[in-house]
């Protein structure tokens, strides 16, 4: 059993899911910044994606494509295992949130 997902890992996984599969690091970061309104360091996103890939929660493929502007890009998607862990993490949040609505308000 791996360590449970960290908060930022959950955020990154959700961002990959939101943009849809085959998303590169830069787009993930933009999605996070857009939804949360907070600034996220580029390095943090890349390193987190690498770590998630190492845990086999996301998979990536490197695409050499002259139609892309930089000529090369790395596209990520969430693996079934990633989906499972993410579901588990969100469920944990939800269960902990139960009964706290008076304090925290509805989210």
């Amino acid at each position: 059993m791996q360590a449970p997902l960290g908060e930022f890992e959950v955020v990154v996984l959700m961002a990959v899911l939101r943009v849809g599969n085959d998303v590169n690091g830069s787009e993930v970061r933009k999605e996070i910044e857009r939804r949360t309104g907070r600034r996220v360091s580029r390095g943090a996103v890349y390193v987190t994606l690498d770590r998630l890939e190492h845990k086999r929660l996301v998979a990536s493929r490197t695409l050499t494509d002259s139609t892309v502007r930089g000529g090369i890009t790395r596209l990520f998607r969430v693996t079934p295992a990633g989906l499972k862990d993410l579901r588990h993490a969100v469920a944990t949040f939800a269960r902990m949130h139960e009964g706290l609505e008076p304090v925290l308000g509805d989210l």
């Binding site: 590169n24 690091g25 830069s26 360091s41 580029r42 390095g43 943090a44 890349y46 390193v47 690498d50 770590r51 490197t62 892309v68 502007r69 930089g70 000529g71 090369i72 890009t73 790395r74």
Partner: protein, 871 residues
């Protein structure tokens, strides 16, 4: 668009980001940068780029650190760094590295192989339940030590009376002729009483053990069952053993061996009872006991009890019979112990030479690196750091060296086991496994670290100012090398002397071939009682027919039958009581009694001294004639001619009354009781007078005798299909079997000696070479001042000569004391054989001289300028 800033940042990122990731990271960053340029202008876009790239570099650096700490990799990495560095520095000294590794491989390899053998024979657990409780009981005559054993009739009495044992069983080894399917075969068997397997605490792997003594069953070895299965004999299959019908009731596990690993069948002793067992060897009727001691009974107590039982059963046993009791391992491996000790000693000495060699090689290396070490210490390198490097080098050398040693051991062991299986017990148990492996690795590591660290620590003590001085030839380290070479040479001499003694033993035994000419002679053993007939007359006519047919075979010059075969098969002996002419007291004289047919002497090349051989006419008439060996003739008629006289006493015949045969000839002495036996007295009778159940067919051939083996087998089986014909061998093969044990000792010790001597020579030559190199500057100055090269050579060779001389003296002293130890293994000659000692000493002096020649020539050839420049 990609300006200087971008290129700078790209460089930074390529350093920080792992190479397989950096491409997309850069591309995507540039993508966004391009957008920024368009959106916010180049100045602010460049600022943005700086901040972004910093965050990337920092994130990746943090990750690296975290991972490193996570696996505790920093220690690992520094060890790996040490190893990498050591490997590189060893590559710089390839010659030394190869020499050290080979030396280590030889030293550890030989020791591993020998240890595997010793462990297998002496220490591997025996295949019985609680073997420490098991003892073997036997009866011997004192003081000769000859076996009397226990008779079958006494077994019950012994078993009843021995109270210190919880269970007792009797056993006796014998060869049984087994008939069934396929060719008749002789099987090494053990006659055992019913408790036998219960005492040992082992039961068959398949089937059931011997339950009742009166059931006609046999338990066979795993090896035998495999062989039998290939000709269709399996569990429950009927066999005819020694004339009785049997069936196989059980198969023992492969590891089971008692008392030797050549026993293939265990059969109930009661079935044979007192009935003569055809084809058996002399002592098969004398039993031994295997007993399981009750807890609390010591071997000593049990020995006392056994002797009480012996005198209770035979109150009149005043003729010096003693019961012996020994642990079961002694019975199984006892004879091998001195030989194993010899092997262990020889391999340990070889290891010592190897250590000395490794040490002197590494001392040489430490000396060349002294300057480097001194500089590094002087500029502040931690001594521990330098030691760690040396340690890492030793680890490499030990690892590679012992791996090579292991390979050597595996190959050597395979050869050794094949060579040793006739002369050493428990060869099945010899293999390389975990305990043995641990030993190799341990040996390799200890040897290298000891030999590497000592010079390293020595080098560490070097004063810092050595860094700026020329290397002096007589440092603390330099002085170590003389003694190291002395040790090597003296140990090599000890081994060479042992090898020489064993060589003289083998040669001495083979000299004269036991009195016969062994070339082009084929021999075979016939078990005449096992044929489809026979009483004595039937056997005589069978033999006549056989000889007629065999003599007709192409390539056969002569053929005969004899009741014994040199050098080590004597089946009949006659004891005569003779008055000693000097003291007047009676003296016992044992003689080999060999019934032979005409042609026996001619076939074996036994020389006629006086009188005549037996001829065909004597055979047909079966007159009572005898031929004596020279030795026997001298013993019986010390003054006069033996020919024409009747034999001293009446000799037994098979058919009827004893006869006093007339002596018609005297022939040369022949050994029938082993090559190492003293010259025996031989009496030859005509075979028809005393036809022996075990007889040897001997053929003198004009062609290679090996080619005649199938034809002889065909002829025998043509006359009688079930007649067992075994041990079809050339006489040369018989000779080799008779000396197999000694040959093995000689081969092993001489291999070790040769390797040790070679290592010593390499050590000597290398050290002399280094001495020359180190004294180059001094030599150059002296040559420039007019010293001739000859003086220089004599200087260095004096040093080398002194080293060899001291080594020689110590070596001979060591060899003398070792010779006393191996004395029991040296036959025919004295262990202090002067010829061996002299030859070894001369050889060592001459060969060491040659080994020094090359480095010395180099010293004498060089011009002063060359020597000066080299420094």
């Amino acid at each position: 668009m990609r300006g200087w800033l971008w290129h700078r940042i790209e460089r930074q990122l390529r350093k920080a980001v792992p190479p397989d990731r950096v491409g997309p990271v850069l591309a995507e960053l540039f993508d966004d940068y391009a957008d920024k340029l368009r959106e916010i202008g180049s100045f602010r876009a460049n600022l943005w780029l700086l901040i972004e790239s910093r965050s990337l570099v920092k994130a990746y650096q943090r990750r690296d650190d975290r991972e490193a700490v996570a696996v505790g990799a920093s220690i690992m990495r520094s060890i790996l760094d040490d190893l990498r560095m050591a490997w590189r520095s060893l590559l710089g000294a390839r010659g030394i590295m190869v020499a050290v590794i080979l030396t280590l491989a030889v030293g550890t390899g030989a020791n591993t192989a020998v240890m595997a053998v010793a462990y297998g024979i002496l220490a591997r657990p025996l295949p019985f339940a609680t073997p420490s409780q098991l003892v073997i009981v036997d009866v011997v005559r004192q003081p000769s030590g000859g076996r009397t054993g226990i008779t079958f009739d006494d077994l019950g009495e012994w078993t009843r009376r021995l109270e210190g044992a919880s269970s007792v069983a009797g056993f006796a080894a014998t060869d049984l002729a087994v008939l069934g399917q396929g060719d008749p075969a002789i099987v090494h068997s053990l006659l055992v009483t019913s408790d036998f397997f219960r005492v040992l605490g082992t039961s068959p792997e398949l089937g059931r053990p011997l339950a009742s003594d009166y059931e006609s069953i046999a338990v066979v070895s795993d090896r035998y069952s495999r062989r039998a299965a290939s000709v269709g004999r399996t569990l429950g299959h009927p066999l005819r053993v020694g004339g009785l019908a049997f069936h196989i009731s059980g198969v023992m596990p492969p590891a089971f061996a008692f008392p030797n690993d050549d026993i293939d069948m265990w059969v109930p002793a009661d079935l044979f009872g007192k009935a003569p067992i055809p084809g058996n060897s002399g002592d098969s009727r004398s039993y031994r006991l295997v007993a399981r001691l009750k807890p609390g009974t010591s071997v000593l107590d049990f020995r006392a009890e056994a002797n009480r039982v012996l005198s209770a059963i035979h109150p009149d046993a005043s003729h010096g019979a003693v019961a012996t009791v020994g642990p079961i391992l002694d019975a199984m491996a006892g004879d091998a112990r001195p030989v194993l000790m010899l092997f262990i000693g020889a391999s340990a000495l070889l290891l010592l030479v190897a250590c000395a060699n490794v040490a002197s090689l590494l001392v040489g290396r430490a000396m060349t690196r002294r300057r480097e070490m001194a500089i590094r210490l002087a500029v502040g390198a931690a001594p521990i750091r330098l030691l760690r490097e040396t340690l890492a080098e030793s680890v490499w050398l030990a690892a590679v060296g012992s791996t090579c040693g292991l390979l050597l051991a595996v190959v050597g062991l395979r050869i050794f086991v094949r060579a040793a299986s006739p002369s050493l017990p428990r060869m099945n148990d010899v293999r390389i496994d975990v305990p043995v492996l641990l030993l190799v690795v341990g040996l390799g590591v200890v040897v290298t670290i000891l030999s590497a660290m000592t010079p390293a620590i020595g080098a560490m003590r070097t004063q810092w100012d050595h860094a700026f001085r020329d290397i002096t030839p007589t440092g603390r380290l330099g002085r170590v090398r003389g003694p190291l070479v002395v040790v090597q040479i003296s140990v090599a001499i000890v081994l060479l002397t042992c090898a020489g003694l064993f060589a003289r033993t083998v040669l001495g035994l083979l000299k004269g071939h036991g009195g016969v000419q062994a070339e082009r002679v084929l021999t075979a053993r016939l078990l005449l009682n096992e044929g489809t007939h026979f009483d004595a007359p039937g056997q005589v006519s069978f033999v006549q027919n056989l000889l007629t047919q065999v003599r007709a075979l192409p390539g056969v010059e002569s053929a005969a039958i004899g009741g014994g075969l040199p050098p080590q098969h004597d089946y009949l002996t006659a004891s005569l009581r003779l008055p000693d002419p000097i003291t007047g007291q009676d003296e016992m004289l044992a003689m080999d009694l060999v019934p032979v047919t005409a042609g026996y002497f001619e076939s074996l090349g036994i020389r006629l001294e006086r009188g005549r051989f037996f001829d065909q006419h004597d055979m047909d008439e079966a007159t009572s004639l005898a031929i004596l060996s020279e030795h026997a003739a001298r013993d019986l008629w010390p003054k006069g001619n033996a020919i024409g006289r009747n034999f001293y006493v009446a000799l037994p015949t098979r058919a009827g009354p004893r006869i006093r045969p007339r002596i018609v000839g005297v022939v040369s002495n022949v050994h029938y009781a082993g090559l190492d036996a003293a010259d025996d007295d031989n009496v030859y009778m005509l075979w028809p007078n005393l036809p022996t159940a075990v007889s040897f067919l001997v053929l003198k051939t004009s062609v290679d005798p090996n080619g005649l083996k199938p034809a002889v087998e065909q002829t025998v089986h043509g006359l009688d299909a079930v007649m067992p014909l075994i041990d079809v061998r050339t006489l040369d093969e018989e000779m080799n079997l008779a000396i197999a044990g000694r040959e093995l000792r000689f081969a092993l010790v001489s291999t070790f000696a040769a390797v040790a001597f070679f290592l010593a020579l390499v050590g000597l030559s290398a050290v002399v070479g280094r001495v020359v190199i180190e004294r180059r500057k001094e030599l150059a100055i002296r040559m420039a001042l007019g010293a001739s090269p000859a003086t220089i050579v004599s200087e260095v060779s004096k040093w080398a000569g002194a080293v060899v001389a001291v080594g020689l003296i110590l070596g001979i002293a060591g060899a003398m004391s070792v010779a006393r130890g191996v004395g029991t293994l040296v036959e025919v000659i004295s262990p202090y054989d002067p010829l061996t000692f002299l030859t070894v000493s001369l050889a060592v002096i001459i060969i060491s001289g040659l080994a020094c020649l090359w480095p010395l020539r180099r010293a004498s050839r060089a011009s002063p300028m060359e020597l000066w420049r080299d420094t």
